[in-house]
């Protein structure tokens, strides 16, 4: 029963969702929307409780075992607790205050303020690291160790030169050639991969619908 019920739900809902793709009627569409949005959100809400439980357990264990860098776990737990309390009771922003006093003079620490002034800059900092990682990855990729790497190096060199406005004056056909590389060989390869991906998705979905693939049930093989 533990396995058959989820399989039955997947079969019924999966077949309904597949059939709904071909039916534009609002009755079918609205039921499909309920499954896609409402039901998924309800499940996500329950899972989030498990997720928060997982964070708490993970960091409590680290603190208890005095694992490496365990003091940072305190920071995580305090941040989790403070942001949860402010988020639940402190209001969203100065125009939508909560029951907690989250405004001291001109200084506001509502959840939206915390998000905009702490989370967003921290995320932007992580994202900015990408530029340096790109440089180091490019250095590794462009070492002409074999034929494929040499091809990559030459193609990248042409594309980079093609993107420079001065190249159109020095070597007039090069920008067009660079565009051709992007539009023809590159697109052809991408579409080839996309065909494979689409068929892979289709086959995986079919295997799950028919109960051939049961890894998602928590193992169990086929």
């Amino acid at each position: 029963m533990k396995r058959q019920l989820p399989l039955l739900i997947v079969l019924v809902v999966g077949i309904f969702a597949s059939v709904a793709f071909f039916i534009p009627h609002p009755i079918v569409r609205s039921v499909d929307e309920v499954f896609r949005n409402d039901v998924l959100r309800i499940i996500a809400a329950f899972s989030l409780v498990l997720g928060v439980g997982s964070i708490l357990r993970h960091h409590f264990i680290k603190i208890k075992r005095k694992a490496e860098h365990w003091p940072f776990s305190y920071i995580t737990l305090v941040a989790l607790f403070v942001s949860a309390v402010i988020g639940l009771f402190g209001g969203i922003d100065p125009s939508r205050p909560g029951i907690l006093p989250t405004q001291v003079g001109g200084f506001s620490f509502h959840i939206q303020t915390l998000f905009s002034n702490m989370m967003v800059p921290l995320a932007a900092t992580m994202f900015a690291l990408l530029a340096f990682f790109m440089a180091s990855a490019a250095y590794r990729a462009f070492r002409a160790r074999n034929f494929e790497a040499t091809l990559l190096l030459v193609a990248a060199f042409i594309l980079m030169l093609g993107a420079v406005p001065l190249t159109r004056i020095i070597i007039p056909p090069l920008p067009d050639f660079a565009e051709w590389i992007l539009a023809v060989p590159n697109t052809a390869a991408k579409r080839g991969i996309q065909f494979g991906v689409s068929l892979g998705m289709f086959a995986t979905s079919l295997k799950i619908l028919l109960g051939i693939e049961r890894g998602w049930l928590g193992g169990g093989g086929s």
Binding site: F21, F22, I23, P24, H25, P26, R29, I43, A44, S47, L48, L50, G51, S54, I55, R57, H58, I61, H69, M119, L122, A123, A124, M126, F127, L129, L130, F133, M134, S136, A137, A138, R140, A141, K190, I193, Q194, F195, G196, V197, L199, G200, M201, F202, A203, T204, S205, L206, K207, I208, I212, E213, G215, W216, L217, G218, G219, G220, G221, S222
Partner: protein
Amino acid sequence: MLTGLLAALALLAVTPPAGVSATDRPNDGGRAVIVTWTCSPDPVTGYRILRQPEGGEAWDTVGFTGPRLARFVDEGTPDGVSHRYRVLALTEGEPAESGPSGYAASRPQWFNTDYIPALIFTFIFAFFILYFVRQARRGAKLFIRRIAGLDAVEEAIGRATEMGRPILYVPGLSSIDDVATIASINILGEVAKRTAKFGTPLIVPNRDPIVYTVARETVKQSYTEAGRPDAFSQDMVFYVADQQFAYAAAVDGIMTREKPATNFLIGMFWAESLILAETGATSGAVQIAGTDAISQLPFFITACDYTLIGEELYAASAYLSREPVLLGAIKGQDYSKALILGLIIVGTLLAVAFGVPVIDLL
């Protein structure tokens, strides 16, 4: 004098739009009528579309179009109520009004005929896959080409075991409704069976709470199937953060602190792919990546030792488990791909050599 004025006005008058027709928009969920007409041959500034319900008196304006457009979609009509339409050619002077169209009512449809080719190919692909699954069940020997990235899994787990270091498995950043995530969870199940067998520590950080619960159950089940339920720890699979870069920062931290011998980056990734892969590469880990996100593939190919490209991600769980039935599905995929390839070649030949409008036929 008066005759001259009338003649001048007659010269200024424009020919009204002709042949106004109204039809229900096909293949939709209702509440839309398409109005078409033949444009006035005279210069006009645009057209105004008027609507009158059956049995009603008033003509209401429902929209405007430019001077070169001869089509208007009246969205928001009540289903099942008939309306007729008139089109006014707008000029600097008096507008010229067309005759009314016939009555038309919008209705929702129960089948989108535009998707008939998709439906046909769905049945063909399903037939191929189910046929080979059936063949595999009957014991037919199916050849599947070698995939280097998957052959390296055993070796990578063995290396981690010898070094006494953990294995990090990142199941992507997408939710469970992404097929790539489900494929990743299937691979995680096979990897977990091997780590259970070798007694190698496994770390699975998650970004999505639903994926976290599924991944935890999968790993737990794999440890049970491997005969090592005692080796499973709740702390192996854990939830980190929902924010993309917060998650990336946390995983980078794990790579730097725990120094895993092997990193699996398998599933759906976005901008964080290179941040994760480069950090892993600098930590000296063997990295096996797999994604169907085409824009992230170059980053993985550059920074990882092995990369599962596109469809290989979906073939991986079957390849690792060597389950004949799952291998049958891969064979079905291959035949479907061969069919697509054949159709592309035939279609190209027909279009180029014989001028057949292949795209329009589809």
